[in-house]
């Protein structure tokens, strides 16, 4: 049975290879090949899942050894897979959501002449992501880790002719590279500490290592997680990543890849358990990010960026949970899964809206669309309810559990973290309601609003801060849009996801199914919040209502101005991602430019100058010495005479001394 594991990865990998090397002749069928292979992988996943359920919880983990990868001395890296409950959870999420989004993309990318390549990239992503979650050692995980990074790079920059897209792609890759440094250092530390970096041995041996080492490893892993999961301080890339086609945003930058960081932390549970400091830092990062993302989400008018902010924030919850240790791991993953459903759904919804609105992304130019695209409205609405944690929907369960766990952490930490989590919940409710209202309710602000020209991805308008070029596009656009519902191939995945986002949470929580399912891998400890679970739940609901209410006051009651008002200081800050990019630009980009420029100068004048200088000096010396050769025989005789004198003197001197 475990021999099937490789098949999980092989299918999409094959797809990628075929589609990318196949050339134009596959343009007609490319998208089908991609989708089928993704689905195939899903099927395999389901089969393995069924098989796994058959076994008793303790020995459900499967292992498949393919071949020895890098054997050098004590450094033994294998290509081997490990499929336990944790991996299985991800496999199903990835392949499932992945397949849905493949289907959706068939419709969404219909008019793009490079659709084949798009599906190739998607398959590549699936393969890499599966490798990431199936690897049985950190080095192989690293391969998947960078692999998804590459896929994300390719997909964000899919419309490469748009400078903004190319830049965003590059930015994403670079920021992730910073995280990767963390991962590679972590692996090196493991190697020098344990002599191996395979999950099993490392996690067993944690007891023998010093806490200092473990803390270091933990922090390095956290750094990696921050990069991949867009956590502060490495979150800056996610917003720009929305330059990519919407399905990409849904799959990679909402449902799966960005959650890899959480996977990494949970996977390394034992290390973190043994390194409290690392855990603390993790929780802090999570808390900060969930506020950061939420605040940013409140201010964005670009629907995708708003959702991106929310993604950031939700992952913040997961990281927070993961940082809480055994009391949080399970809920982190659970929230991850539910989030995978509803956030993917929301993005697909957003995509569908844009599809109907000539790829307009500015919510201020939406409004009252519920009548025009009912299915989108309903699915999106369900996703919305899920994410704000409307009782009974999946988001409610998962998020509530996390907040509980945060309080359960105990001590002031517990209070602070819990408080932050609650606040986050409120803000979430606020900005999601805002999105909802601005998009589907209120007056139809898109009337006699020239927006972007028909669904030509080439001219997909760049987000507002991309300035002149984008506004030209808008100006050049033709007439007002004619909102319409998307084709079935797009709506069906949305419906499926909506269903998921409604019931998943309940399904997992009833009888603590999910806890029992993951416990053997991650371990679980029941957290007891100081104020009691019920109270927490109550307050969660309360703040949610509060948030919704505020949002309605702001955007529901009075009309939304088409042109964004200047807004408060905070708003403006939030629009500019709390100036984080500006900081990067000034400090890193500018500084780097200066550094390189000065180094180029140094290399040319100093390092090279010394050499050329020596040569020039030689020439000069030669030129001067030449003068002695003045052509007069008598001066030659003088030099001979002098020479003879010196010779004699020297000889005599030698004898004297």
């Amino acid at each position: 049975m475990e021999n099937l594991i490789a098949l999980l990865i092989a299918a999409p990998l094959l797809g990628a290879a075929v589609l990318l090397c196949g050339g134009r002749r596959l343009d007609a069928v490319g998208h089908w090949i991609g989708t089928v292979l993704a689905a195939a992988s899903f099927v395999v996943g389901v089969v393995l899942f069924a098989d796994m359920l058959g076994k008793d919880p303790e020995n459900r983990a499967m292992h498949q050894f393919l071949f020895s990868w890098i054997p050098v001395g004590g450094f033994q890296a294998d290509v081997a897979f490990q499929l336990d409950q944790l991996s299985m959870t991800f496999v199903l999420l990835i392949t499932g959501v992945g397949s849905l989004i493949h289907v959706y993309s068939i419709g969404y990318m219909e008019h793009d002449e490079r659709r084949r390549r798009f599906f190739g990239y998607l398959n590549l992503f699936l393969a890499a992501m599966l490798l990431l979650v199936l690897a049985d050692n950190y080095l192989l995980l690293y391969v998947g880790w960078e692999g998804v990074g590459l896929a994300s790079y390719l997909l964000i920059g899919f419309w490469q002719h748009k400078p903004s897209a190319a830049t965003a792609a590059k930015k994403a890759f670079l920021v992730n590279r910073v995280g990767d440094v963390g991962l590679s250092i972590a692996i090196m530390l493991m190697f020098t500490t344990f002599g191996t970096f395979a999950f099993g041995p490392v996690l067993e041996a944690t007891g023998e290592a010093t806490e200092g080492k473990l803390t270091a490893i933990g922090l390095m892993l956290l750094l990696a997680a921050c990069g991949k999961s867009a956590q502060v301080p490495l979150q800056s890339w996610l917003g720009d990543a929305m330059e990519g086609p919407t399905p990409v945003s849904a799959l990679i930058h909402a449902a799966t890849m960005v959650t890899a960081g959480v996977y990494l932390i949970v996977r390394s549970a034992d290390i973190f358990n043994a390194a409290p400091d690392a855990q603390l830092v993790t929780t802090v990062v999570g808390a900060v990010t969930l506020l950061f993302g939420a605040i940013v989400g409140c201010a964005k008018d670009d629907i995708k960026k708003a959702l991106a902010g929310s993604t950031m924030s939700q992952i913040g919850y997961m990281v927070l949970a993961a940082g809480l240790g055994p009391i949080g791991y399970v809920f982190a993953i659970m929230h991850l899964v539910t989030h995978g459903f509803f956030k993917a759904g929301l993005f697909l919804g957003a995509g569908s809206v844009m599809h109907g609105m000539n790829d307009e992304v500015d919510m201020r130019k939406y409004g009252g669309l519920r009548t025009y695209m009912p299915i989108t409205f309903i699915t999106f609405g369900l996703g919305y309810l899920a994410i704000i944690g409307f009782p009974g929907l999946s988001g409610f369960f998962s998020k509530d559990k996390i907040i509980e766990a945060a309080f359960a952490k105990g001590g002031t930490e517990g209070w602070i973290l819990g408080g932050v989590a609650l606040l986050g919940a409120a803000i979430t409710a606020f900005y999601m309601t805002r999105v909802m209202l601005m998009t589907f309710f209120g007056e139809e602000r898109w009337r006699n609003q020239p927006t972007a020209s028909p669904a030509e991805p080439d001219v997909e308008p760049a987000a507002e801060h991309h300035g002149a070029a984008a506004s030209d596009h808008v100006a050049a656009a033709t007439g007002e849009p004619h909102p319409h519902e998307s084709p079935r191939v797009m709506t069906i995945p949305m419906i499926v996801l909506a269903v998921g986002s409604v019931f998943a949470g309940g399904f997992f929580s009833i009888g603590d199914r999910f806890i029992h399912w993951l416990e053997p891998v991650t371990g679980h400890a029941h957290g007891h919040p100081p104020i009691g679970a019920a109270a927490v739940t109550a307050s969660t609901v309360a703040v949610m209502v509060l948030g919704v209410g505020l949002a309605w006051l702001q955007y529901g009651r009075r009309p939304v101005p088409v042109v964004a008002p200047r807004g408060s200081l905070l708003t403006r800050a939030a629009r500019r991602d709390l100036y984080q990019d500006d900081f990067n630009h000034v400090v890193l980009v500018r500084g780097g430019e200066h550094l390189t420029r000065s180094l180029v100068y140094v290399d040319h004048t100093l390092v090279d100058g010394v050499v050329n200088g020596t040569a020039a000096g030689m020439g000069g010396l030669s030129g001067r010495l030449r003068r002695i050769q003045n052509g007069y025989a008598r001066s030659y005789a003088v030099s001979m005479f002098g020479g003879a004198a010196i010779l004699i003197a020297a000889t005599l001197l030698m004898r004297a001394v």
């Binding site: 030449r626 003068r627 050769q629 003045n630 052509g631 007069y632 025989a633 008598r634 005789a637 005479f641």
Partner: protein
């Protein structure tokens, strides 16, 4: 009389000749100075031969004269041809090639 004095004389003559070579411009004169140096050598040789009481030195002196004669032949030939083509026997004029 102490034969060493002859050596001093020889050294003196040699130096005079060398100085002449260094300071005189006319090729012929320069050449004559060289001859002077050779003869200084002869004097030294003869003196030494006298001191050591063997004939080698004097024999060398004869050879030197022959050599000097040969040098005169060659030297004059060259100098004269130079003079004819330049109408000047100054060694300083002959400085086409330098540096």
């Amino acid at each position: 009389m102490n034969p060493v004095n002859y050596l001093y004389l020889a050294a003196l003559l040699f130096t005079i000749g060398a100085t002449g070579v260094l300071i005189r411009r006319n090729a012929i004169v320069v050449f004559m100075c060289v001859e002077l140096m050779l003869n200084a050598c002869n004097l030294a040789l003869v003196a030494f031969s006298r001191m050591h009481g063997n004939l080698d030195g004097q024999i060398i002196a004869f050879f030197t004269m022959v050599v000097a004669a040969a040098e005169v032949v060659v030297g004059l030939a060259i100098i004269v041809s130079l003079f004819r083509s330049r109408h000047s026997a100054s060694v300083d004029d002959a400085s086409l090639m330098k540096l």
